[in-house]
């Protein structure tokens, strides 16, 4: 340590007590800041990040589950079509409404055989009130006792399984899964439809709420017609895109719109469907153009020392929140259309828009199935709201980022496992200089 102090001594200069008058003499000398300026570049190791972009799907069949897609909006393409989440997992714990599908990410693990296919699904409640209350819930330490409105599920399958062939899909219309899967709700097309409409016995629903909504939205007139058919048709929506054999009559009776969709989804409030493509972030690194010409336009000469730069810094470079927002903006400015940032690594740190509302290591619980730690997998950015065309009313959805943590070991099991999500909302308080 002595060597350091010697070098520090070399750097010191003797100046007069009255700094203002000595400024001219110091014009030629270099200026030295005594205080530590904040580091511009964050010193974290930059793990390679993969960005996700949304695009309109190329074909109507390119987002079916046998193609193993990554998609956003509309209905999920369930990986395991039989063991769907049910019961309490499907609904928002705060208001009781069934959750709406946000996006799914097909993220297989190369090194793990049982995770040859692996998809992470994110669902959330449409109501902003629930999201605000969810903020308190996510800070709670015991995930089993917390009531969340944002839920994440992970499902993985080995190469050889009951549902899909071991051969890769050809990428055309002829691909079909091995089984047809459990029937889905007629209204949302998302959750398992294990409840029947009591009168016609053909329409299936995941919950009473959806049955009521469908009833009001047009099932009432059709119900009588459906129940009049001699043989009650089998349920008309399967989650593989094909329709049952003996419901030609049902098909005619349903709205014409249904023929356009693969699954007859009656709800209008689902978000528009997009496919998600991924790119490495490094492809978007732009070169900085050295443009020193503007330096010549400066009003005052470059010399002279600014005394109270620190106070200026505070007001104009902002406090913690503004600084983290500024670095967030810088990072996403490379590819402004990104909606997802994927980096599955224990060392990876998500890009936080705000400095407030970040979880510490203790806030992130352990995996509720295997007890192992969770690691950051991906985060969802608010550009997605723009692509979804979410209305910007008072009570409409708005978030700064949703960060998803999944089991580091990606523990095995049948069906869907719940993972942990962290939502950061943008602070509502005004922050004028």
């Amino acid at each position: 340590m002595e060597i350091d102090s010697v070098e520090k001594l070399k750097g010191l200069q003797i100046t007069a007590l009255d700094d203002e008058e000595e400024e001219e003499e110091e014009e030629k000398a270099q200026e030295i800041d005594i205080y530590d300026e904040e580091e511009e570049d964050e010193e974290e190791e930059q793990e390679p990040v993969i960005l996700g972009f949304v695009e309109k799907p190329e074909h109507s069949w390119s987002l079916l589950r046998q193609q193993f897609p990554s998609k956003a909006g509309a209905v999920p393409a369930w990986l395991d079509p039989d063991n769907l989440p049910s019961g309490r997992s499907c609904v928002c714990d705060l208001c009781g409404e069934p959750l709406q599908f946000l996006l799914q990410v097909y993220a297989p693990l190369v090194e793990k055989e049982s995770a040859f296919h692996r998809t992470v699904f994110v669902f959330m409640c449409l109501s902003m009130n629930c999201l605000l209350r969810d903020q308190h819930e996510q800070w709670k330490r015991q995930p089993e006792k917390s009531s969340r409105s944002v839920k994440v599920f992970r499902c993985q399958l080995p190469n050889v399984n009951h549902f899909y062939s071991s051969e890769p899909p050809k990428g055309n219309k002829t691909d079909k899964p091995l089984t047809s899967g459990a029937p889905l709700c007629n209204w949302c097309g998302t959750w398992k439809g294990d409840k029947f409409c009591s009168s016609c016995k053909s329409a299936r629903y995941c919950s009473q709420k959806h049955q009521v909504m469908h009833w009001r939205a047009g099932h009432k007139p059709q119900c009588q017609q459906l129940s009049l058919s001699p043989q009650p048709p089998e349920s008309n929506t399967y989650n593989d895109g094909t329709t049952g054999v003996n419901e030609m009559k049902g098909k005619i009776l349903l709205l014409i719109k249904c023929l356009c969709f693969q699954t007859a989804v009656a709800s209008k409030s689902l978000w528009p469907e997009y496919e998600m493509k991924n790119e490495h972030e490094s492809e978007y690194e732009t070169e900085m153009s050295e443009d020193d010409a503007c330096a010549n336009n400066s009003l005052v000469s470059r010399s002279g020392m600014d005394d109270s730069m620190k106070s200026l810094l505070d007001s104009f470079e902002g406090d913690g929140d503004r600084k983290s927002w500024a670095s967030f903006q810088e990072r996403i400015a490379k590819a402004p259309e990104q909606v997802l940032r994927y980096c599955r690594s224990p060392k990876a740190r998500p890009l936080w828009p705000m400095s407030s509302g970040r979880p510490s290591q203790t806030n992130i619980p352990n995996c509720s199935y295997c007890g192992g730690p969770l690691c950051f997998e991906f985060q969802i950015l608010p550009q997605l709201l723009y692509y979804f065309g979410v209305k910007n009313d008072v009570g409409s959805l708005d978030w700064a980022t949703i960060v998803v943590y999944t089991c580091e070991a990606s523990c095995d099991g049948v069906g869907y496992k719940e993972e942990f999500s962290w939502v950061q909302l943008s602070s509502p308080s005004p922050n004028l200089p």
């Binding site: 993220a107 493509k277 991924n278 490495h280 104009f316 950015l381 608010p382 009570g395 708005d398």
Partner: protein, 269 residues
């Protein structure tokens, strides 16, 4: 790709494994113009502006909403926004291996019609600092109130009253001036006042005005106060309107008078 499915795991190019080539032709675009056009708003206010629901900066000022994206200002104020680099200072930090020099840029933006912004950014390269400072300046844009010296003929041309702003040891005082007086000020605040759109003003400054940072910030602070000064035009009770973000709206008394901002603009014009 299809043949290797067995060993590598997964069929499609999923997240985490692949993410390689850009088969959509993105990412190779150069030029700032294209990037600005494909601005995807991140905040709710940004989405509202992009959708065209908010047409002027005044609506944002009315509800004191924080502007977090500089493209909002670009869209609302548009091409009349000019910027100028006031100063670029090298600043240094002592490290074990010598000194680390960075450049600090002071930038003023303004449209010459009642809006100014000031931005300061420090960075390792000059161009980055200037760019960052321009963005910060756009984010910190404020409205400037102008008034008359005497007769209310024509457009407002000077500050409405005597105002003073302070930063560090520098205090800047602005006094209304008659038409034709011009901006009577030092070089540095003159630039800021020109950007603000003030045509005539007398100024007086005190303190160490050599420190450009403080001097410029003091004039900025002074301009900020022009709308903070209570004059008889503002005596009428405000009728509060609903902010685009306000969730819970409690009725505040008897709202019968016109909006505050409209009153002022009508009185001055």
């Amino acid at each position: 790709m299809a043949e290797r499915g067995g060993e590598r795991g997964a069929f499609r190019r999923g997240f985490g494994g692949g993410g390689g080539r850009s088969d959509r032709g993105r990412g190779r675009r150069r030029g700032r113009k294209e990037e600005e056009e494909k601005w995807v708003p991140v905040t709710k206010l940004g989405r509202l502006v992009k959708a065209g629901k908010i047409t002027s900066l005044e609506q944002i000022y009315l509800h004191s909403l924080p502007i977090k994206e500089h493209q909002i200002v670009d869209l609302l104020v548009g091409p009349s926004l000019k910027d100028e680099v006031m100063k670029i200072t090298p600043v240094q930090k002592q490290t074990r291996a010598g000194q680390r020099t960075r450049f600090k840029a002071f930038v003023v933006v303004g449209d010459g019609n009642g809006h100014v912004g000031l931005g300061v950014k420090c960075s390792k390269e000059v161009a980055t600092a200037i760019r960052g400072a321009i963005i910060l300046a756009k984010l910190s844009i404020i409205p400037v109130r102008r008034g008359y010296w005497g007769n209310k003929i024509g457009k407002p041309h000077t500050v409405p009253c005597k105002v003073t702003g302070k930063c560090g040891s520098v205090t800047v005082r602005m006094v209304p001036a008659p038409r034709g007086a011009g901006i009577v000020a030092a070089r540095v605040p003159k630039k800021v006042l020109q950007f603000a759109g003030i045509e005539d003003v007398f100024t007086s400054s005190r303190g160490s005005t050599k420190t450009l940072g403080n001097f410029v910030k003091a004039t900025f602070d002074c301009l900020l106060k022009t709308y903070g000064f209570l004059t008889p035009d503002f005596w009428r009770e405000t009728r509060f309107s609903k902010s685009p973000f306000q969730e819970y709206w409690d009725l505040l008394g008897k709202p019968t008078k016109a909006l505050l901002l409209d009153d002022v603009e009508n009185a001055n014009a």
